[in-house]
């Protein structure tokens, strides 16, 4: 028997207030469907290019001696950087008890999982024989050769798989209460899906205490992982004795750049979500304003890093370094370099620093330019150092991307958008229990809840 009866006492939160946050999952407009078709088309084209490239071989691309890392590795570093938007930022805000984080964290954490998945694909796309990608995994292959644990590429495997696991869990665990809510409010296949994903969450106080503690502890661990991941990605370059790659500053420089591009991606996606799903009541100007201040800090930090790296190289005047340096400042790659400075500093700085310009539209413009600038930055780290002639060989080629490389890169951009759209249809994109349900302090004396098993 169920003795449930309606509550007579007034409640502080009106019932059904979660409805606006569940609505994006249930209402699918025509524009959404058209967008899905368009993005699927772009992804299919990219998949075709990848298969075509596998059939012909990597010689199809613009990769020529000595530039063996170019577009795909640029994309790899870029997407791993974007992935720092979510888990790292969310974890820092959670640990610092920043109360304005509530509507932001879920959207941010989802970016991490998808960007990391996409970024992790690029080393495979970059392989000459991608069907042998599992040779990266640490087990003896057919010739009893184990992976070389000294290789930074092997470190990538461990770092990215650890970060992906941690980030996926960090996204999933805070979703449990919302999945249970969706389970209770849904029927049919959605009910079965949410019942499975909710992991039998009931909302007992025992469960709440354990969940909040687990999220808090994981936040601390995830920060340590996130910092290590982009440091290790930077070591892919700085461990090599290639001019403009071999730098001690690359670890923090990459981490700062990753957070920089990550915040820009987060602002852009939040603005899109706000407009498309009419979430103006939840994603408010103050949230954008707070993120814009973080972005302004990172703009300055990025400028500082670029200046410090450039002046050290210029002052050192090492013969091996200078051709690559001048190719960026005034040579072949100068247009890209100065475009990068324009996009990462000159345009966003006044927009973010001047209060009158720091509107949501202004922040979106700044974020788009920063994302373009950060992709250029990754490209300028990867390519000029390898492309600049260091030896007196005649067959020293430059690099120009093939259309298949551009197509595959654009396809991953479409994949990111599509994954995010599908995610927002299946799961609440804003943490409902965080945003809607902040309980007031009830009356009554305190007693310990009779937990089923004690600690832990």
């Amino acid at each position: 028997m169920n003795a449930t009866s309606p509550a007579a006492a007034p409640i502080s939160i009106a019932p059904g207030r979660e409805a606006p946050l569940l609505r994006p999952m249930l209402v699918t407009g025509r524009a959404y469907k058209h967008m899905v078709i368009l993005l699927t088309g772009v992804i299919s084209w990219g998949a075709f290019c990848f298969i075509y490239q596998g059939f012909i071989g990597l010689g199809l691309t613009g990769l020529r001696r000595p530039v063996f890392w170019a577009f795909f590795i640029t994309d790899f570093v870029f997407w791993i950087g974007i992935s720092h938007a979510g888990t790292l930022i969310s974890a820092i805000l959670r640990l610092s008890s920043a109360s304005w984080r509530y509507p932001v964290t879920r959207a941010a954490e989802a970016i991490t999982v998808f960007a990391l998945g996409i970024g992790g694909v690029f080393p495979i796309v970059h392989l000459g024989r991608p069907w042998l990608f599992f040779w990266l995994a640490p087990y003896p292959n057919a010739r009893m050769i184990w992976p070389n644990f000294r290789s930074p590429l092997e470190w990538d495997f461990f770092a990215i798989s650890t970060y992906l696991t941690g980030s996926a869990l960090y996204l999933f665990l805070p979703m449990l209460p919302d999945l249970a809510l969706a389970r209770d409010r849904s029927q049919g296949w959605r009910h079965r899906l949410y019942r499975f994903l909710a992991m039998s969450w009931q909302g007992t106080q025992q469960q709440w205490h354990r969940l909040e503690l687990a999220i808090q502890l994981m936040a601390a661990v995830v920060i340590a992982i996130a910092v290590s991941v982009h440091t290790i990605v930077s070591w892919d370059f700085s461990m090599a004795i290639v001019p403009s790659w071999h730098s001690t500053i690359f670890g923090p420089y990459f981490v700062a750049g990753a957070i920089f591009s990550g915040i820009a991606a987060l602002i852009l996606i939040m603005a899109i979500l706000r407009r498309v799903y009419h979430l103006e009541d939840y994603l408010q100007p103050k949230h954008f304003n707070n993120l814009a201040k973080l972005l302004l800090t990172m703009t300055l930090l990025w400028g500082y890093f670029v200046f410090a790296e450039s002046i050290t190289t210029w002052y050192g005047n090492l013969p091996a370094e200078m051709p690559a340096f001048w190719s960026k400042i005034s040579g072949h790659y100068a247009p890209l370099f100065w475009a990068m400075v324009l996009c990462n500093f000159v345009i966003p700085f006044p927009i973010l620093a001047i209060k009158r310009l720091r509107t949501i539209t202004g922040m979106v413009i700044a974020s788009i330019t920063i994302l373009i600038g950060m992709w250029l930055e990754r490209f300028l780290i990867v390519v000029p150092g390898a492309a600049t002639q260091r030896f007196a060989f005649d067959n020293w080629y430059g690099y120009f991307p093939h259309w298949t490389e551009i197509s595959i890169s654009l396809a991953t951009l479409a994949a990111m958008a599509l994954l995010y759209m599908v995610f927002s249809k299946l799961f609440p994109i804003i943490s409902i229990w965080d945003v809607v349900g902040q309980a007031p302090a009830p009356t009554g004396e305190g007693i310990a809840e009779p937990g089923p098993g004690g600690a832990p």
């Binding site: 028997m1 000294r150 809510l181």
Partner: protein, 163 residues
Amino acid sequence: MIEVSLRLSWDHDLAGVVKRLEAGGVPSREVNVLSRVPLPESVFPANPSRMSLIGVIGALLGFSVAVAFLVAVTVSYGLRTGGMPLIAPLPLGVITYEMTLLASILAMLVTLFVRARLGPWRRVPEHPELDYGEVIISVTCADLAQAQRAREILAGVAAGRAA
């Protein structure tokens, strides 16, 4: 198992209701207070948890497994290093670091699932009527007599609230 439940608002004396159930002979482990959001710890304080300790133990375990794995593999399948040491602590330390943190996270995850009784295989009563601003006092009864007792107590609470 029979579930007897009562929906109440947040501002009700929830602790008092739980006390009355316990006084009425309902085992405390069978009483749960369900809510859509965590209630303040001043009302239902958290039991002491060893999750952080288990996280540290998981990290130590991960560290040990990583070191054993990397050293065993490096020695068993030695690469030509040109006179450099076969076991290189710093490069292996990078992988060890990642495996240590991964094991720590997994240990905390398992602890959460066990102690919070989570898992897709479990079947629990669903309460679609539960809203924000409310709680459900849920009593899982082993037999009809206990269910009758719990029902009477909760009915008394509901009557008192209506009055």
